[in-house]
Symmetry: C2
Subunit: 194 residues, 2 copies
C-alpha cells in the first residue's frame, strides 16, 4: 500500500528555515546549512546520506508542495522540473498545469484531504505520496491525520529562530521509530505515525 | 576534563512538558509520557534506556536545577533527595542550604555563568555538571556558551503545544553527534557543542 510521507530537514531545534526568508534566500539566513547532507553548501554526502536521499524518491509516485516552495523553487529546478513525477501545488490561485520534462505541476485549491486523495490516486496503490514542504503544508497535512510516515533529516545545528517544522501538531500523536542512520551532517530518522 | 551537560527528554516536536503544568502535574497534560523510557508511566526500560539513564549520573559531580523544577520535585524526591550530589537551585530567593541524605541543595541567585563556574568547582575537574531542567534554565545555560554537551532523549510522540525545550538558542551553534541509541520509547542522542 502506498504511504503518505512528510520528508523534511529540520535543525536540532526544529527549524526548517532561518529568519529573513525571501525568493533569493528561500531558507533565510540558514542558507543551505540544512541541506549540506544532500551535497549542497560544499557538503560531501556520506553513504547514509545518499541512501536517505535515494529513499526520498525511489517509491514516490506523486509529490505535494506548498505554493511558496513552488514559487521560490521553480526557477531553480531546471528543464526537468526536478521531481520527475506529478506534483500538486496547493495554492489559493489554481491555474492550468505546467509541464517541465517528466514533471507536471498541477495547481489546486482543493482541501488538503482532497489533494492527498488525488495524489494517492495518481501515485497508484503501490507508490507513495511525498509531502516535500514547506512547514505550513506539513502542518495542514498532519492535521488531516492522513500522514503515515515522518522522515526527518535532523541537522546538527541550532538556528535559534526561523520557520518551525512543528507548530500545533495534533496532540498525542504516537510514533514508532522504523529506522535511524547517521552522518556528519544529519541524523536520518524514519517514524511511522500510529 | 569535566563537561557541562544538558540532559532532557523532549517530544519529537520539541516540548519537554505539555500544557496545564502545575505542582500536581509538573509535565502538564503530557503526564509521564516523556519519561516512559525511564520506567515511569508503565514503561519498561530497554538496555539502551538503562544505559542512557546510567550515563546521566555516572560521571556527574554536581547538578543545576531551575527553581520551578525544585519546587515541584522536592516532595517527590524522598529522603535521599534523589540526586545524591551537590545541587544548585537557581532562584530569585536564595536561602540556607537544605540537606536530604547525600544530596545538598544550594539556593543561589548568582548569574548563570557564576553558578556554572561554582558547580564545576564543586564537581571537581574530572566530573561533569549536569543541567537537569527546566527549559528556561537550559536556555539561559546555552546562552552562556558554557555548555559542552546536549543529551536528548527524543520521545516518539507529538504534543502539539507546551513548554519548548529550544527557544531562541544561540543562532548558528554547530553540534557534533557523538552517540545515538534507540528503544521503543526514546532515541538517545548525544551531541557535543562545537
Amino acid at each position: 500500500m502506498g504511504r503518505v510521507i512528510i520528508d523534511m530537514s529540520p535543525s536540532l531545534d526544529g527549524f526548517i528555515a532561518g529568519t529573513g526568508v525571501s525568493a533569493e534566500q528561500p531558507f533565510g539566513d540558514a542558507g543551505l546549512r540544512l541541506h549540506r547532507w544532500l551535497g549542497l553548501d560544499d557538503g560531501r554526502p556520506e553513504e547514509s546520506d545518499l541512501q536517505a536521499a535515494a529513499r526520498m524518491f525511489e517509491t514516490t509516485g506523486a509529490v505535494i508542495l506548498g505554493r511558496y516552495m513552488y514559487d521560490v523553487g521553480i526557477d531553480k529546478w531546471g528543464e526537468d522540473g526536478a521531481f520527475g513525477r506529478p506534483c500538486f501545488v496547493v495554492t489559493h490561485h489554481p491555474r492550468e498545469p505546467l509541464a517541465r520534462g517528466r514533471t507536471t505541476f498541477h495547481f489546486t485549491n482543493e482541501s488538503i484531504s482532497a489533494v492527498i486523495a488525488r495524489a494517492k490516486q495518481v501515485a497508484g496503490k503501490d507508490r507513495d505520496v511525498l509531502i516535500a514542504g514547506g512547514a505550513d503544508l506539513a502542518r495542514q497535512c498532519l492535521a488531516t491525520r492522513l500522514v503515515d510516515e515522518l522522515r526527518l533529516h535532523v541537522v546538527p545545528v541550532l538556528l535559534g529562530e526561523g520557520t518551525r517544522l512543528f507548530d500545533r501538531a495534533p496532540p498525542g500523536t504516537e510514533l514508532e521509530l522504523l529506522d535511524v542512520s547517521t552522518s556528519r551532517n544529519a541524523t536520518h530518522l524514519v517514524y511511522a505515525i500510529r
